[in-house]
């Protein structure tokens, strides 16, 4: 028992260190494209809350294939377009897609509370879940995904620029592939099938 706790705490420290390093890389490279691929889910350390109010960590996603994308719900063009595309892919995959974790990570946690995400996602495929947290929580998961986002002022309002691709992970948490924004269904669906095996 004691030995197991020790292993767990070593793993925790290692994960925290990896997260800190990732965050440091993100901060120092804010004005440049962040190169590189997402970490494996097993090396990620973020903690978020889903649109049902449940706390979620990367460990909760291990064991199932995962499809993850960044966005927000106050943009009239890209956000519905991505969600419509993904709903279409899930429809094409049918029941096979029930095993998939489908995650929208908001880059706009100020406006996208769990309730705001729930209101929005109610209009799309019910297999899509939304995730939010503090601004620090979002900075950490973006860093671990090597994703970028930026708040853009618009008179007395604002919008967000953000990484538009959809990240695919194998059930063991390894990063598998990216689907580009608005990629044709004929290319997107086979990419998803490959992580469903």
């Amino acid at each position: 028992m004691r030995r197991r706790q020790l292993i767990l705490s070593v793993a925790g420290v290692t994960a925290a260190a990896a997260g800190t390093l990732a965050l440091g890389a993100w901060r120092s490279n804010r004005d440049q494209p962040v190169s590189g691929l997402p970490l494996p889910l097993t090396a990620m350390t973020w903690r978020l809350t889903d649109h049902r109010g449940t706390r979620v960590t990367p460990a909760d996603w291990i064991g199932r294939p995962a499809m993850v994308f960044f966005g927000f719900t106050s943009c009239p063009d890209v956000c519905p377009t991505t969600l419509i595309d993904i709903s279409g892919w899930l429809e094409a995959l049918g029941k096979d897609a029930d095993r998939l974790t489908v995650a929208l990570i908001t880059v706009d946690p100020e406006r996208d509370t769990p309730e705001a995400l729930a209101d929005y996602l109610a209009y799309f495929d019910p297999r899509i879940a939304g995730y939010t947290g503090s601004t620090g929580d979002i900075a950490l998961i973006a860093a671990e995904f090597r994703a970028r986002y930026e708040k853009i002022a618009q008179d007395d309002d604002y919008t967000m620029n953000h990484t538009a691709g959809v990240f695919l992970f194998d059930p063991d948490g390894r990063f598998a592939n990216i689907i580009d924004f608005h990629e044709d269904r004929r290319f997107a669906v086979p990419k998803i099938r490959r992580i469903l095996i």
């Binding site: 494209p33 719900t73 106050s74 943009c75 009239p76 063009d77 890209v78 519905p80 377009t81 969600l83 419509i84 709903s87 406006r111 209101d119 929005y120 209009y123 799309f124 970028r148 853009i152 618009q154 008179d155 309002d157 919008t159 620029n161 953000h162 990484t163 538009a164 691709g165 990216i178 580009d180 924004f181 608005h182």
Partner: protein, 157 residues
Amino acid sequence: MRNILLGGLAMVLFAGAAQACETVTLGDLSVDHAWSRATIGESRPAVFYVAITNAGTQDDALTGISTPAAAMPMLHETVVADGVASMPHAMSVPVPAGQTTELAPGGYHGMLMQLTSALKEGDSFPVTLIFEKAGEVTVNVEVLSLRAEGPTCDDAS
């Protein structure tokens, strides 16, 4: 006359089906496929899509939009560069001679910020398009579902 009536009302909602398929002309320009998506409440911005065909020999440009449905309507373009999506404000949208210019999902679009009220599926509202050369024309915009990818019109254009 119609424009005066429209302008005199704070918010005009027209009932009626398939208005997005109606064509409105202004000189050599014809405008159709004017549609939007329903919004959840009024705090999130709405979208405006339309197709403009320029049958003339002179290039034109869409320089602005106005509508009683929103206090801050703007033209935007969705641009994906280096995998990052951004929505820069478009000063104008080119409407070249002999071509059809589309404001459509994933590209140019009208962004209607500060809505007067939530847009409900089946409603419609007027948007005035302001062109550099041709002047102004008002179209009725059909509100489709939040999941709509565009209106279904017989002409399929």
